[in-house]
Symmetry: C2
Subunit: 349 residues, 2 copies
């Protein structure tokens, strides 16, 4: 029986899982398709994370450094699993870099893909330079200045549109992306910190700053940072004669049409299933659920099981998820994988 754990994906979930397994002195093979470890927070240049307030490069960077220096962790960057066979305790994977990995269990921490805002064309992304995504504003926060891409000016009025690629049946995204409300409230605070004269408006259907995020982000963004929340249906984003953006729609609280000038419009983009999921499902022989995320089994005594024994799945591969939960899923899957292999060895002995 082989007790190496193969972990696919080196974002917060995979890094956490790798640390968990390695902390028991067990062997890990960690594979990521990108040349850089850290997943979305690093690759997309997130700024300060919710809810710690730590910079992503520090927080996730620390997770990366710990795994890179752990004895017993073999890392394959820029590599994919191209073939996979076997059963619990005796899996064999072939990687795109030619390596063969023998493993007792597999953890799929393959994450999500950011919604591409070009698929919501009426809201102006891809048409107007000053319509950007939350990810781009995170990068501006990291750079220390909020600007309009068209001319570099500091925007007087910023609109953050929630649910871009979420809760939207028209474009086949029925799910809520869970963390965009809180991320947007945090971003509104960061914009006001960098640029206290900029007015920030958040256009929403429901504000979902669940749990302790309620007062930390929703209330604080309103009371300390004067963010204006507007319950609205946004119909379209166009450009006025003066070159400013125009946000058109209906304020659903006052039931009136609105046409509001804005300097910068920010799409709070949702979390799609990883674009690679169909091939991941095929290579590993696991099922997808109806939206295209990886499917999971029983929730209580066999949580994080995929549809294939010995293959575990967690984090944002299961659906939209926040980083804290991803970190906990990684450790939990490490526990499950190591525990199940222990039971298997015991049975065999």
């Amino acid at each position: 029986m082989n007790d190496t754990i193969l972990i696919v994906g080196a974002g917060p979930t995979g890094l956490s899982a790798a640390h968990g397994v390695a902390s028991l002195g067990r062997k890990v093979v960690l594979v990521d398709k990108e040349p850089l470890l850290g997943g979305a927070p690093i690759l997309s240049g997130y700024a300060r994370l919710v809810p710690s307030g730590e910079w992503a490069k520090d927080a996730i960077g620390r997770m990366v450094a710990r795994v890179e220096s752990a004895p017993g962790v073999e890392i394959h960057k820029g590599a994919r699993v191209t073939a996979f066979d076997g059963s619990p305790g005796a899996f064999v994977a072939t990687l795109s870099d030619g390596a063969r990995v023998d493993a007792g269990a597999v953890i799929l921490a393959t994450g999500f893909t950011h919604f591409d805002a070009i698929n919501k064309p009426e809201w102006g992304f891809g048409t107007y330079e000053n319509v950007v995504t939350t990810t781009q504003v995170e990068q501006m926060v990291t750079a220390g200045k909020i600007v309009c891409p068209s001319d570099g000016r500091v925007p007087e009025r910023v609109a953050i549109l929630l649910c871009v690629g979420s809760r939207d049946r028209q474009i086949g995204r029925e799910w809520c992306s869970k963390i965009c409300c809180t991320v947007s409230a945090n971003l509104a605070i960061e914009i006001r910190e960098l640029s206290p004269k900029t007015d920030v408006f958040i256009y929403y259907m429901d504000i979902r700053t669940f749990g302790l995020y309620e007062d930390k982000y929703y209330w604080r963004s309103q009371e300390e940072f004067r963010t204006k929340y507007v319950k609205a249906r946004v119909a379209e984003v166009t450009q006025g004669a003066d070159g400013r953006l125009l946000l058109k729609g209906e304020d659903t609280l006052v039931k009136r049409p609105i046409v509001i000038p804005m300097d910068l419009v920010v799409h709070a983009i949702g979390m799609d299933p990883n674009l690679d999921n169909p091939s991941i499902a095929k290579v590993f022989g696991v099922r997808l659920e109806k939206h295209g995320f990886l499917d999971r089994g029983e929730h209580y005594t066999s949580t994080f099981a995929s549809s294939r024994p010995g293959v575990y799945v967690g984090g944002s591969a299961l659906g939209p998820e926040d980083i804290d939960t991803c970190v906990s899923h990684g450790l939990a899957m490490a526990m499950r994988a190591v525990g199940d292999l222990h039971a298997l060895a015991h049975q065999a002995a």
Copy 2:
């Protein structure tokens, strides 16, 4: 060095942690203040759980049975930790049943307390028999019949009031209880399944059916089960001359006062910090955060650390949490506790 793990609390979090540790053949001492294991889902008689749809007594019952039959798990029911001392690898706890526990690490899975609806008196709980809590309706679902407590009749009109003891600064509950929206949508479906002629109304500020709960609960409860969602500020619940309840407030979408007759009013009660938290903090020497939940440390490379080394905290002890997340926190804490003890033993050797 002692490598037994002491786990305090045998709800979903503690049971999951106990299984994790035991799955490696390590010793666990599991302590719960109640005579029954299973935590809130068992003690409060939850019906079908979100999102699995499994009955709580089956799902959590399976977790209990597995831990009770695991070799190496010593269980103390109806017991509390009354004294605690030591350091990682060498803690000593004294239990109220007189036992002494030597442990290398401690997992606090001490959970929450349901908000007592009597503390929101203007909404009628404690005054009118037909004002009940979600927990009481869960018990009706388990019993197979939805009734008005006053006379046993099947209600024609049921109102579920969200945010009872949540998002309410007036009564010192600033947090959102995270899962009540989804639990209430699920309950609306269950009421309609048992009593198809009953009209169900949900009065809300924001609907927070995050992630994949959006279409599974919010949309389905509206489209398949005709639940009516009303965005409103509820001012008070009183009784009319005919003995029916009257819900008074303002519909915040149409901006009009409302006075609506109801047969049954259900308080979707929130999650308070465990009432025992001040004494838990004192006995274990750990900090509370500002709302009274247990405080936690760094989120990325030392997640689930409390303010005392070797003592871990997770689940709804940290704040309002859903059962799936509690189960994952339990396994994650097991991984952390066992991993940190492994490192400690390695250092010592």
